[in-house]
């Protein structure tokens, strides 16, 4: 599903060049649930930006579902983002003046789907995350865990090939974090490929594979025994 070969990325910081990613190689197969771990500055967010087509690598290859992602124009990038990827953010990033339902329906708007169908699909995914009763509520009326579940529903709405989660539990307490991870595990069980960036070991242990990043290189990449949320609680 994702193939990365010799990926390099550096940033210009003042007069210095900061080499963030120093030749990464790894593959993700369909249906995997991978966590990318590392302390801050390890380059994990940069990697996620590149995977999410929000940023471009200096050199190296990135192939997503058979499509080489290189020098895309804005139009194609937007289309790929919409169709291939679903994003879940640490700070939820729901649009605060839109109801939960409208937030979930937004990626469908950019797919050019008609309003009626959008609402139906959005309702389906809200149901899936267990928040159908909260459909008409604004984000400010929801708890952190509920917001993240709405965000997950939104990420799923466009039926992407890969779900990218950037510290999805970073702003949540541990009980809620586990609920969110349980949801992600369930989605993964249905076959969706998920990448989670985190720095929490217990969260990482709930995935099937942990990639450790340090100073821009992969120090370890191992399949782990997935801890099911229900067992750990």
């Amino acid at each position: 599903m994702i193939q990365i070969k010799d990926l390099h990325k550096s940033y210009q910081v003042g007069a210095n060049k900061l080499h963030v990613l120093k030749g990464l190689n790894f593959n993700v197969e369909e249906g995997e649930l991978v966590s990318i771990m590392g302390s801050s500055g390890s380059g994990k967010s940069t990697l996620l930006n590149i995977l999410g087509m929000l940023d471009e690598a200096d050199s190296g290859e990135y192939i997503l579902d058979g499509f080489p992602i290189k020098k895309l124009n804005e139009k194609v990038a937007a289309k790929y983002r919409n169709e291939f990827l679903g994003f879940v953010f640490q700070s939820f990033n729901l649009i605060n003046y839109k109801s939960a339902l409208d937030n979930v329906a937004l990626p469908l708007y950019y797919q050019g789907i008609k309003r009626k169908e959008r609402i139906e699909k959005a309702e389906y995914y809200l149901e899936k995350v267990g928040l159908i009763e909260w459909a008409e509520h604004l984000p400010s009326e929801l708890s952190g865990g509920q917001k993240q579940r709405v965000a997950i529903a939104r990420a799923l709405a466009s039926n992407p090939k890969v779900l990218l989660a950037d510290e999805p539990t970073g702003a949540l307490d541990s009980t809620t974090s586990y609920e969110v991870m349980e949801l992600l595990q369930g989605i993964n069980d249905e076959g969706k490929t998920i990448l989670v960036v985190t720095h929490e070991h217990d969260i990482a242990n709930m995935t099937k594979r942990i990639v450790n990043l340090k100073d821009g290189v992969i120090v370890s990449d191992e399949i782990v025994n997935q801890k099911r949320v229900l067992q750990s609680v």
């Binding site: 967010s45 996620l48 930006n49 999410g52 929000l54 940023d55 804005e74 139009k75 937007a78 289309k79 983002r81 919409n82 169709e83 994003f87 953010f89 700070s91 990033n93 729901l94 649009i95 003046y97 839109k98 409208d102 937004l106 990626p107 708007y109 950019y110 797919q111 050019g112 008609k114 309003r115 939104r154 466009s158």
Partner: protein, 413 residues
């Protein structure tokens, strides 16, 4: 541009951000509203002052005489200078190329005019046909004096509307005889004065007046209007030169000291008119200045609001981008929203301003403020200018915002 889904999205956004929408709209609408009112009143003042001035020709040179105040060429001061027909003929001959209308005048204040049992004292003026145009007398009934009245010393009279009201009440005065100094005159016309000030007057032929008042060939006044060229300031200069020329000619003919200001007097209304027009122009300029200032303030206000809106929506833009929105669709959405709000509010302000002028315009009873009105095209242009400026002010930050990488926009806490 017309995409129903896009509009739904925009209306959604506007509806859910009522305060923001309202404030943007308010600043645009009030700017346009104030401009319309200002321009309307500026026009109203112009109309008012112009109509005040309408009562007489604005390009009129009037000459009258008095007693000399200085000794000159062996003549003692205190000598009365009497204008004669010859003076009038000489002057009109000399300046005939520049003169439009000309009139000699012989008048008596407080002349008794009688019709049946009604009697009143009026200013009886001996005049000529041209005088109608100099005084801007509107004939409501009958006719003004004509050349045959002058040539044949006819005993006819044209009376002012006030004279008609006093003497004839509701009766039709035409072809009735009135007594002036005990002599029968036939009423041939009634006139209104657009300024309304000079209706206590009766005009008789100048030749008849000189006979009736035993005046020989004496005149009291001479009036000339100067042909106007397209260039107003040139006309002012020309008429000033003519006025000065006439003054020195008359002083020469009557042996009056050139610096004697009381014996021969020349008044040039065009000079006065030039001052009034300059004043109107100044007032209009001030209103425009204030109006444009208001519009600039409005533009800055709209621009400011757009900046804040885009700033506030940076995160939302990042989210939309991450969800697969094209940069162009985001800019398009923000612009369309801005144009819709400013256009709607601008037209609202325009209609409110025009409505107010329509409503209170006719109620205004003031000599110097009449029929306030606005050039619709000017007002509409300003609305579009404001819309354009508002969109531009929205476009720049929106363009910058979509250039920010979504992750940066979203990370920014």
């Amino acid at each position: 541009m017309f995409d129903i889904e896009r509009w739904q999205e925009i209306f959604d956004t506007l509806k859910k951000n009522k305060l923001r929408t309202f404030l943007t709209g308010l600043s645009v609408a009030s700017g346009i509203f104030i401009l319309v009112i200002l321009l309307g009143f500026s026009k109203g003042i112009e109309n008012g002052v112009k109509s005040e001035f309408q009562r007489d020709a604005t390009n009129c040179i009037t000459i009258w005489t008095g007693v000399t105040s200085k000794e000159y060429k062996g003549n003692n001061p205190g000598r009365y200078i009497q204008l004669k027909n010859d003076d009038y003929n000489l002057i009109s001959q000399k300046y005939s190329d520049y003169i439009e209308y000309k009139a000699p005048l012989y008048q008596r204040w407080g002349s008794t005019v009688t019709y049946k049992n009604e009697t009143g004292n009026y200013n009886v003026r001996g005049a000529v046909p041209d005088y109608q145009f100099i005084e801007n007398a509107d004939i409501s009934n009958g006719r003004f004096l004509n050349q045959s009245d002058i040539d044949e010393f006819k005993k006819v009279v044209v009376i002012g509307n006030n004279v008609r009201k006093d003497l004839f009440k509701d009766e039709d005065p035409i072809d009735k005889n009135v007594l002036i100094f005990g002599i029968n005159f036939k009423v041939v016309g009634v006139f209104y004065d657009p300024g309304g000030w000079e209706e206590n007057i009766a005009y008789i032929p100048i030749t008849t007046a000189q006979r009736v008042f035993n005046a020989g060939d004496n005149l009291r006044n001479m009036l000339f209007t100067i042909k106007m060229s397209d260039n107003f300031s040139e006309s002012v200069i020309l008429s000033n030169n003519i006025a000065r020329g006439i003054e020195s000619d008359l002083k020469l003919m009557h042996s009056v000291a050139p610096d004697d200001t009381s014996a021969v007097r020349v008044n040039n209304t065009l000079e006065e008119a030039a001052k009034i027009y300059a004043l109107i122009d100044t007032i209009a300029a001030v209103f425009w200045f204030v109006g444009i200032g208001t519009i600039i303030a409005g533009i800055v206000g709209v621009g400011n609001i757009m900046l804040i809106i885009v700033k506030e929506r940076t995160k939302e833009i990042g989210v939309r981008k991450a969800l697969g929105a094209l940069p162009s669709s985001i800019i398009g959405m923000i612009l369309q929203e801005a144009i819709f709000v400013t256009m709607f509010a601008g037209l609202f302000g325009l209609i409110a301003g025009l409505g107010l002028l329509e409503l209170i315009g006719p109620q205004i009873q003031n000599d110097y403020l009449k029929y306030p009105q606005v050039n619709f095209n000017v007002a509409l242009t300003t609305v579009f200018l404001l819309v354009f400026a508002g969109s531009l002010a929205g476009f720049i930050p929106a363009f910058r915002a979509v250039k920010i990488k979504p992750i940066d926009a979203l990370r920014d806490e």
